[in-house]
């Protein structure tokens, strides 16, 4: 029977500025940042939704939304152009006398209660646009129903050293959560929250309204909604996820995640016909490897022209790498150009940036471990002059 009703509506928090990505998010929101050659970060949660049979998604935007809005468009690349449902971009809006920016993650959903109500869902899935992962939300929803939970929080097992950087869920034997600690100095467990929540909508709706009425609240899921629900004895469960998951909120983690795509055993296999990651297509011709090209252990996307040497790198759509240029251990974003004789190592080169002839950007690194990479950044549309030297960890705007 045809009905407007949806069992589960996803709300994707995409308003973050992503300050720790510096110039990469100068002109666009973090979820719109390029990733893995032909993707943007937001392709992952959007593709996960459609692959999990969730076809109604509100994308909450606030910071520099134009690129993101244009990219999402009518949602067709993700099969989200629907008669009923589909993808909706939800910026803050005027409400009678008052209007507010989204004050926090919970407030962003609060301001869109009317939107969610239109689909009368039983459940709301809250996602963020900051992570690279493949996850079947329908399994998490089944778990949520099985546990008869009020809220289910996806968690991933991290090392005890890392645990103090995350929100940690302390659970009983049945996986019910008895305590939530934000960045604990002495973590009691290693169940880190992935920022993915499923709520019973009627319950969340009430907590959002109560939270809004609390003038001291910072209107945040981790700081307010979850602790309040715990305090009231609501049923919160942790859902253990064991696949690849990475927060790409910093330069070095973004670079690392790109390198993970190169590695065939990192767990983030993009070439998976059972779980495709969709992206908006740019209609570029096949890439061209020139007469003197040397390409090893790299990903090359359509529209590229490679005449130089590319080793251990992710090269995005429409990048040109000229004769004699050397690119090693890099992520080169769409439309960038590396001119003749330039050397770019351990770097992220932003969209449409140009590295001039014989310039030297970054350098090789030995003895580094994950999380401590000294990555050099050439910002979007930045120009590195011919012959210039950009030292390790420097950022060119």
């Amino acid at each position: 029977m045809y009905t407007n009703k949806k069992e589960c509506v996803a709300m994707l928090l995409a308003g973050g500025q992503g300050t720790r990505l510096y110039s990469l998010t100068r002109d666009l929101a973090k979820p719109a940042v390029s990733f893995g050659g032909k993707y943007r970060i937001i392709d992952f949660p959007l593709s996960n939704c459609i692959n999990s049979n969730i076809d109604t998604i509100g994308v909450l935007t606030q910071y520099k939304p134009f690129d993101l809005n244009q990219y999402i468009g009518n949602g067709q690349p993700w099969d989200l152009d629907r008669l009923n449902g589909g993808v909706f971009v939800l910026p803050p809006y005027m409400k009678g006398e008052t209007s507010d920016w989204y004050k926090g993650t919970a407030n962003a959903i609060y301001q869109n209660i009317e939107f969610v109500d239109k689909f009368s869902p039983e459940y709301v899935l809250v996602l963020s646009g900051d992570h690279i992962y493949k996850m079947d939300y329908s399994q998490m929803l089944a778990y949520h129903k099985e546990k008869k939970a009020d809220c289910t929080i996806a968690v991933i097992n991290v090392s005890i050293e890392e645990a103090s950087r995350f929100g940690i869920m302390n659970t009983n034997d049945d996986n019910s959560v008895y305590e939530f600690e934000e960045k604990p100095k002495k973590p009691k467990s290693t169940n880190a929250s992935m920022g993915i929540y499923i709520f019973n909508w009627s319950k969340l709706r009430k907590y959002l309204i109560d939270d809004e009425n609390d003038k001291n609240s910072s209107n945040d899921f981790g700081k307010n909604i979850i602790p309040n629900m715990l305090k009231d004895g609501q049923k919160l469960f942790a859902y253990n996820f064991s696949g690849y998951w990475k927060d790409v909120g910093t330069i070095s983690s973004l670079w690392e995640a790109n390198m993970d795509v190169l590695s065939e055993d990192s767990g983030i296999n993009l070439d998976d016909s059972a779980w495709k990651i969709y992206a908006r297509n740019t209609a570029e011709p096949p890439h061209c490897a020139g007469k003197d090209a040397v390409i090893k252990n790299s990903l090359i996307t359509e529209g590229c022209v490679i005449k130089g040497k590319v080793i251990n790198s992710v090269i995005s759509t429409g990048v040109e790498i000229c004769e004699g240029a050397v690119v090693e251990d890099c992520n080169i974003m769409p439309g960038a150009k590396i001119c003749k004789g330039a050397s770019v190592k351990y770097a992220i080169v932003g969209n449409e940036a140009v590295v001039g002839e014989n310039a030297k950007v970054g350098d090789t690194q030995e003895g580094m471990v994950d999380g401590q990479w000294q990555i050099t950044v050439v910002g979007p549309r930045a120009k590195v002059a011919a012959g210039a030297v950009v030292p390790v960890k420097a950022m060119v705007d």
Partner: protein
Amino acid sequence: MNNAMSIIFASDNESKLNELTLHRTTASLPFGGRYRCIDFALSNLVNSSVTTIGIITRNNYSSLMDHIRMGRDWDLNRKNSGIAVFPPYASNTSTNVFKGKIEALYGILDYIENSDDEYVIITNSNIIASIDFDDVYEAHVASGADVTMLTYTAKPTTSKRVLVEKTASGRINGMKITQTADDNAVEIGLFCYLFKRTQLIKLISDSYERGKIDLEKDILQANLDKLKIYAYKVKGHAALVDDIKSYYRESMAILDTDIRNSLFYSAGKVFTKVKDSVPTRYCEGASVVNSLIADGCKINGKVENSILFRGVIVEEGAVIRNSIVMEGGRIMQGSKLNYAITDKDVRVTQDKSLSGSDNYPVVVVKNKIV
């Protein structure tokens, strides 16, 4: 040119493409690593604001239907206008499908009559070129032509060619229809025309009723004195693909930077069906030079002067030279290709060797295991 509609012939001269069109129309022949031949015609039209497009099919058109679907990938899923695919027309009185373009056009005369566009662009689907129809239209109006015939300069081959002679002003005053190869390059018709719609309807009706078949011979050549037919020479690279030899030659031509720029970057983008492939992965054993590689490939062998379509796997120690490997091909360990064309989903098993020559590339048909 927002006052024109277009009719594309999906199949013409296809007999000479042999194995490559066993299961498909010329229009859906894979070309250039990720395209089908018809993508060039469709993209040229769309880039020139022509959005009412009828495609006439003759046989084996399921691959074409699968490629075009609702036309969304060319932005042709319009409320008004958009794409219409016509299955082969057979009249009430005959059991065969249409014999020539005149009968085929007569079969869809309603479609042409129902349009309110002023012009009709009639084109084959085997033209590899970047054509700006706004420019064609300007030339058409400036010359005062009844019909503008698009031309290019090439050597005649053993496929049907229309050689044109023209006056200083560009009006065509001589046409020679031939299938004789010649080493001298001359001005040749591209099987693409701009007609005034009402005039086309009249010409088609009259010719059909008199039992005429051939558009070039019976309408154009026969009326050189009555119709003002002007030539418009296509700017940049242009080619007709209608036999294995031309398919191979014109495919390899795209390895040339100037030709590639002319086709893909001079006017507008060339659109095709979106497949959501991942970027191509080069492994440790990859050595790729002077080649075009589409997305979704995985390369661990040697590739030289070749074209790999989407999702091709080149295993360790495999060597591909001067070859075209279509979508989903798998060239297994230690096997060697030289001057070969392997159709979709061909698998060349370990240590096999396939070798043709520049003039006669060896062709492996779809789905075969070597």
